[in-house]
Amino acid sequence: MMFMRSFVFFLGVLAAFALGWIGIVGMPDLMLATVKPPADLKRYTGEQLYGRNVYIREGCLYCHSQQVRAVGFGADQARFWGRPSVPADYLYDKPHLLGTMRTGPDLFNIAARQPSEGWHVLHLYNPRLVMKGSLMPPYPWLFDEKVTAGPGEKALLLPDPPRGRVVVPNADGRALVAYLLSLDHTYPVSQVVAADDTAHTQK
């Protein structure tokens, strides 16, 4: 009798857990398994992928989302952050970087909004050089100080450069900028793809 009751208890506990897993992870995942990549969605290059790891390493996702909300839900559209994102946009992403915070702005289409490499390097070196009032940390370890810039290196145009030296992005800094400049999802998604996966959020 006692054994029977324990058995039923653990069976119920496991069933409750399994149902939730199947329901809100398994089923959406299964549904999305047939989604095809949009024609204009590019795979990451080696450098962009490396830059993506720098993005993860520095924890950019704790302040920046990478998802655009639909028309009528928030002001993402009115802020020109791009068309609503769809599952197909994320097919090559692992780990996903959807994010949950917008202490800083959404970056899903940052390359379309801010395509200047010079702006990005200055911003990473010290965000307050280009954005007064920013809370973003500086990332000086993505840069090297040198006497002169090497071939192919571009020195930062600093208002107050260190005496007799130049600052250039190092491999990590260049890769992170390359990744940020790859974040452009302004290509159209076909009707089929969009209709399939984005019934979301119409109020």
Partner: protein, 488 residues
């Protein structure tokens, strides 16, 4: 008032003194079997609490003073913040919670703790995994998903530690000397079953893209469902009736609360992705499940409230009851808030803002952490054979923690809401949504500092008991009746 509450069980007539003494001796023996593992888990949990709070304070001040320590990569905001979360949840709450569970298992199964060797191994492995994971994230090897930042080697060690812990608890349960399995045990046994499976699935890397995001937030919310909340509820269900000295108001409400909790809470995760690129139906299911949480939460709230009704004056002198009642009331508050917060209209404003951070701390701190504090104030003197030497330190701890968390919650709730409204107003430049949170973020840093001071006081007091320092007491360390202190 109720047919379920029977005062008779408490003061059964016809119990002889010999029987009562025998009973007490048995309880002392059971406590003794739990002593070493419990102290090990509690002490390391408190160490992680202090470390984790300091990391939280550093992360918080970095939003006020973004250039502070700005040239030092391991302490950049994006590395310190996840380590704060991991150390306070997998460190403090998990380890202190495990300590509480070991002790409760002995008491509720009325038998000695079995396989204690596994518990020592578990504590050592768990702390190793935490240390390894924290160092790796700070050095830049984060896994990249919230709540799952620890890289695989650290996650494997922690999973193993949990399995060893659960094995000892199941073995103890199998050897139980009671017919009746109390409510607290249901939550403990369920979490022992759920959490290892959840943690292994989440770290197995089964998903990609949006499917992985669904898994991430199923995990993120389920860690709360299957581990952190059961710790808090097991504690509340045990200590409220225990300190007040009457049985829980209703066994049936407990039953309803538990099973509706198990059914609905497992479906909540996707409310973290409202507005995101997932199928609407899946997110809607999570929103509905979040609203259904009113059922288990009301069942628990009524049960606890009716148990304490008319005896709440005990919080004036019992530290345990004061902390636990604060926690139990916060559970109701955070759950009601969570249900409403999951709806689309609230999410539209709060989704990407500090409002969410406030909510998370209401759950993990005002609810679970406060109950753990109360539990430790009860358990430690019984296993260390030494009372808390200074009741005024407990008082300082309580008020710093209570004022700290209320100010923390208040400031980020208001600041986050305003941030969300501004963000949804297209004409407001984005940088203004940042600027307007400034004073609220400062208020949060100060509240967080108060809480950290409280934790240092608590850790110091804990160490005094372990080392049997301070005045020797022959009566419980209540807030009043301090004249019973006998100096040696």
């Amino acid at each position: 008032m109720s047919g379920f509450r029977t005062e008779k069980q408490l003061s059964p007539e016809g119990v002889t003194t010999a029987e009562r003494v025998n009973d007490e001796r048995r309880r002392i023996g059971i406590d003794a079997s739990a002593t070493s593992p419990t102290v090990l888990f509690l002490a390391s949990g408190i160490a992680w609490l202090v470390v984790g709070s300091l990391l939280g304070v550093i992360a918080s001040f970095k939003l006020d003073l973004p250039d502070w320590l700005g040239t030092y990569a391991p302490l950049t905001f994006g590395r310190v913040r996840p380590v704060h979360l991991n150390t306070v949840t997998y460190g403090w709450i998990s380890l202190a919670g495990s300590g509480m569970i070991v002790w409760l298992m002995g008491r509720l199964c009325r038998t000695e703790i079995r396989w204690p060797g596994l518990l020592y191994a578990s504590a050592v492995l768990w702390n190793t995994g935490l240390l390894l994971g924290s160092v790796l994230v700070v050095l830049g090897y984060s896994g990249g998903m919230e709540w799952l930042e620890f890289p695989l080697p650290a996650a494997v060690i922690i999973a193993l530690a949990f399995v060893l812990f659960a094995a000892s608890m199941f073995r103890t349960f199998a050897a139980r000397q009671v017919e009746h399995v109390y409510v607290s045990l249901w939550y403990i046994l369920a979490s022992m079953t759920w959490f290892p499976i959840l943690y292994v699935i989440a770290n197995a890397g089964l998903y990609q893209g949006v499917g992985e995001a669904a898994m991430n937030w199923w995990y993120g919310h389920n860690a709360i469902t299957v581990w952190f909340t059961p710790i808090g509820l097991a504690g509340a269900y045990y200590f409220i009736p225990k300190v007040i000295g009457r049985p829980i108001y209703s066994y049936y409400l407990g039953l309803l609360g538990f099973w509706s909790f198990a059914l609905f809470y497992n479906w909540n995760g996707l409310h973290h992705l409202v507005g995101g690129p997932l199928p609407t139906w899946a997110i809607s299911v999570s929103i509905v499940a979040s609203l259904m949480m009113f059922v288990p939460v009301l069942a628990v709230a009524v049960n606890h409230h009716m148990t304490a009704l008319g005896h709440l004056n005990i919080v004036a002198y019992s530290p345990t009851l004061r902390f636990v009642v604060f926690g139990a009331m916060s559970y109701t508050a955070v759950s009601f808030q969570g249900s409403l917060e999951a709806t689309r209209s609230v999410q539209e404003v709060t989704h990407f803002t500090h409002y969410t951070i406030a909510h998370a701390h209401l759950g993990m701190y005002a609810f679970v952490t406060m109950i753990l504090f109360g539990a430790i104030y009860y358990i430690l003197p019984r296993i260390a054979k030494w009372e808390w030497p200074y009741p005024h330190l407990i008082k300082i701890h309580f008020w710093l923690s209570a004022i700290g968390i209320v100010a923390y919650f208040g400031s980020l709730t208001v600041g986050g809401w305003l941030q969300g409204l501004a963000m949804n107003t297209a004409g407001v430049p984005f940088i203004e949504t940042v600027a307007l949170t400034g004073p609220y973020l400062w208020a949060r840093s100060i509240s967080g500092t108060l809480m950290t001071v409280a934790h240092c006081v608590f850790a110091y007091h804990f160490a005094l008991v372990i080392y049997r320092a301070g005045p020797k007491r022959f009566a419980p360390a209540w807030f009043r009746k301090a004249e019973e202190v006998v100096a040696e």
